[in-house]
């Protein structure tokens, strides 16, 4: 067993390394773009006007309500086929990108992450204490200033643990990329199994790498959480922690 593990690590280290890099790349881009997209979605979602919140509501509902692998297949085989059937597209210079599974994968992950994060953010925004909003208004802050100086900072404080959780969820979701031919970490492990018939060794190797990534993420995000909550210790030492967003 141990010898086999060393054999897998020694012979297929480049596969695992490349898989690791692709996993990290997919994770970082999905989370970054997904979060950026989630902010306007969440703000629109808490609007009291129905026509403003209807679209983000539908978007979030669909992406949270269907399995990610289904979304990935819809995007890659569904949308991909439609694009491929456009007249002349295969001779166009954009075809190099449009035929590549990478972009379909990334788009699916970004949208999926955006839907989840937007819903977490909605919870955070709605849980900002009313008193603080009233105080902001009393100070003469405009709605956008209120968002920038009061609501968002408070929201981040509250949603951070749930947000951390979602990032880890996205890390595991990237493993589905191998179903549309992207050889990320899980795909690499599968390939090693096909070659060596050593499933335990291959998946344990990949599993340990996932654990290291999760440990590093948790460690880093804990640090940011402390930073976000620095004001609590200074200003309200006895009031305890604010309620975490439930999401």
């Amino acid at each position: 067993m141990f010898e086999d593990l060393l054999y897998v690590l020694g012979k297929y280290d480049t596969w695992l390394w490349r898989g690791f890099l692709l996993t990290i790349e997919l994770l970082v881009i999905s989370v970054t773009l997904g979060t950026l997209l989630a902010i306007p979605l969440a703000v629109a979602r808490v609007s009291k006007k129905v026509w403003i919140q209807a679209l983000p509501f539908a978007f979030i509902y669909v992406f949270r309500g269907t399995p990610l692998i289904g979304q990935l297949f819809m995007m890659y085989y569904g949308v991909g086929q439609l694009i491929a059937n456009i007249d002349g597209i295969q001779d166009h210079w954009t075809w190099t990108y449009l035929r590549d599974p990478y972009w379909y994968c990334l788009l699916t992950f970004v949208l999926n992450t955006a839907a989840y994060v937007a819903e977490i953010m909605r919870g955070g925004i709605q849980n900002v204490p009313n008193g603080e909003l009233e105080a902001a208004r009393a100070c003469g802050m405009s709605p956008s200033t209120t968002y920038r100086r009061i609501i968002f900072p408070r929201m981040w404080q509250m949603i951070w643990p749930a947000y951390t959780n979602d990032v880890i969820f996205t890390l595991k979701a990237t493993s589905l990329a191998s179903t549309v031919t992207m050889m990320e970490l899980t795909g690499a492990a599968r390939k090693i199994v096909a070659r060596t018939a050593l499933p335990y060794e291959a998946f344990i190797s990949a599993g340990v790498i996932y654990l290291i990534i999760v440990y590093t993420l948790t460690f880093g995000f804990k640090g940011i959480e402390r930073y976000l909550r620095r004001s609590e210790k200074r200003k309200e030492p006895k009031s305890g922690k604010p309620k975490a967003a439930s999401a």
Binding site: Y77, G187, A194
Partner: protein, 265 residues
């Protein structure tokens, strides 16, 4: 221990028997096939055995000038029945494997559905020829293949520089071929022939020669015989070589698989 004695004595008896009948032997041979693996071997409406394997067996015996009787045998009991001397040879698309070689012996391989590239009509790929891999044959192409297959291994081992897309099923690879997202796919010609001839495969076809180097694709199917019957193995190998040389094998091949070369190497 007891088993060991049994095996040893059985082997001794076998050797003695075959030695004693060697000179007179094999004017009549009983051949078993499965009868449930179309189009290689199957039953017609009247329960007669037909198919490539059956025609091949008949032609082989004719070439070897021996009388043959063909019987049907369920797959599970195929090797036990041979060892119990219910019949003398198996012609049923049985792949030559190390595992089976521990209990029985095989003739030279007599059929092997080779690998082939499928792509848009008019394309031409020569990735393996005359026992040589042509390394730059796929440069700049995107090739789709089913993962965990011998075909995937062949591509990965020989064409490290190209982009290989691995799919869970061959159907997905074909879907992406028609979407233009892969330039060609490599798979078993038997599997691909039906697709190429279907509506979905319209405009696509075999775009390479067919090949099956055993290092990646195994040895193909052989005629199964008992280990002690080395003389029968010789007879079959000689007849097979003759059939390959005089074109009667090719004729059979064309009859059942017009587009596939069943004896590629």
């Amino acid at each position: 221990m007891k088993n060991w004695i049994k095996v040893a004595s059985a082997a001794a008896v076998g050797i003695a028997l075959s030695a004693s009948v060697a000179s007179a032997a094999w004017d009549k041979v009983v051949v078993a096939t499965e009868g449930a693996y179309p189009p290689f071997n199957m039953m017609d409406d009247n329960g007669n055995l037909i198919g490539f394997d059956v025609d091949f067996a008949v032609k082989l015996c004719e070439t070897a000038k021996i009388e043959c009787e063909i019987v049907a045998q369920d797959w599970d009991g195929m090797i036990p029945g041979l060892l119990a001397k219910k019949y003398d040879a198996i012609i049923a698309q049985m792949s030559i494997t190390e595992e089976r070689k521990r209990s029985i012996d095989f003739s030279d391989y007599y059929s092997n559905t080779p690998a082939v590239f499928v792509g848009k009509d008019g394309m031409s790929i020569t990735a393996y020829k005359d026992g040589e891999v042509i390394e730059d044959a796929l440069d700049g192409m995107v090739i789709g293949v089913q993962r965990s297959t011998t075909h995937a291994n062949f591509l990965e081992d020989n064409f490290p520089g190209i982009e290989i897309r691995m799919y869970g099923t061959q159907d997905e690879a074909l879907l992406d071929l028609t979407a233009g997202r892969v330039d060609a796919t490599l798979a078993d010609s038997g599997t691909l022939e039906a697709w190429v001839n279907s509506d979905e495969g319209n405009g696509y076809g075999f775009v390479s020669n067919q090949f099956a180097p055993s290092q990646w694709f195994g040895e193909g199917a052989g005629i199964g015989i008992r280990k002690e019957d080395q003389d029968l193995k010789e007879i079959f190998n000689k007849a097979l070589a003759e059939m390959l040389a005089n074109g009667s094998y090719e004729e059979l091949n064309k009859k059942y698989f017009p587009a596939i070369d069943l004896h590629p190497n």
